[in-house]
Amino acid sequence: MADSPVFDRACSELEQRTSLDRLAARGTIRIALKSAGLDVAGVNAAQMGVVLRKVLPAELATRGIEDAEAVCAAIANLLAGMSFEVAQDRAAEAAATIARFGS
């Protein structure tokens, strides 16, 4: 399955704004997404925004990136202003169905 365009854009922004190379930027965001229960194929802009603000700064700090919070906030703001077409992921679809079971 192809990576989400949100993931691709976040990775390229992180690569441009920090000293991380492409592989390291993608790997770091992958780790952050995994710890948030998300995957690179289905992440949308809103989810990535939360990960950028709440998870990624700590990951970048451990890699010696200075001012990680500001970098992440800037990328999150950029992504929030853009539109992407991302299909709902499998977990979110299943959650929506099971949420219905409680209604």
Binding site: A36, L38, R90, A91, A95, R100
Partner: protein, 241 residues
């Protein structure tokens, strides 16, 4: 001991019938496959089948004739198998939408179960018992699969919920559903082991353990699908902090 068994079975049957009815009623509004399939699974496999098992145990303990117990056994087997297949259809639609591999798996198990029920219906008691267990054991991969999917997704959604990306009540529902599936596998395996080791009548210790598992499964169903307000509030505050 009988009272303990009664409590365990009654709790599980009541929870299964209530949830099954709720989901079938939901299906009447939504016309979506998952609620119909999972609703039928609880109604048939959890409710009616366990009513049949309970009637069978009472009848056997009181020395009822084979001609009386035979149809009850067949009813329990058919409901258990239909419930498991319905569960498999629901699980496939919920967790693996668009995937083709569940179809041959469920089709093969359904054929196996139908064969076991047919052999059981026309065979002498000893051979019918083998056919019966061949049918019953075929539900294990389905309930094991269901429990695995629910627990894995509960873990994924738990991570999301910590960041406010999933509803804690739904996370709890997946977890409790997974627990109830694990318990169905345990109860079935325990009954089979008891049959192999001790014959048709379950020893009191195993019966008590099965009854206890029934209570836990009923509690899991209830807490997952009918969570009281106090639990919902506790979940919300736990994830918010």
């Amino acid at each position: 001991m009988f009272l303990l068994q009664l409590i365990g079975e009654a709790a599980f049957i009541a929870a299964s019938l209530t949830l099954g009815a709720k989901l079938v009623l939901l299906w009447r509004r939504t016309r979506e496959v998952p609620e119909l399939a999972i609703g039928l699974s609880f109604l048939l496999g959890g409710g009616i089948a366990y009513l049949a098992w309970f009637a069978l145990a009472v009848g056997a303990a009181r020395g009822a004739s084979a001609s009386l117990l035979g149809p009850v056994l067949l009813l329990g087997l058919v409901c258990t198998c239909l419930g498991a297949i319905a569960n498999g259809v629901g699980i496939a639609r919920i967790f693996r939408p668009g995937a083709r591999w569940p179809l041959p798996l469920l089709g093969g198990l359904a054929l196996w179960m139908a064969g076991a029920a047919a052999v059981g219906a026309v065979s002498a008691p000893e051979r019918a018992s083998v056919a019966f267990w061949a049918g019953i054991l075929a539900i294990l991969p389905i309930y094991g699969w269901a429990a695995g999917e629910a627990l894995v997704l509960a873990r994924t959604l738990h991570r999301r919920a910590r960041l406010g990306l999933a509803d804690p009540v739904v996370v709890n529902r997946f977890a409790q559903w997974g627990v109830s599936g694990v318990i169905v596998v345990l109860m079935t395996s325990l009954s089979f082991a008891s049959r192999l080791l001790h014959g048709p009548l379950m020893p009191p210790g195993i019966s008590a353990l099965n009854a206890g598992l029934g209570v836990v499964a009923a509690a899991a169903i209830w807490l997952g699908f009918f969570p009281p307000r106090a639990l919902r509030e506790r979940l919300a505050s736990a994830y918010a902090s």
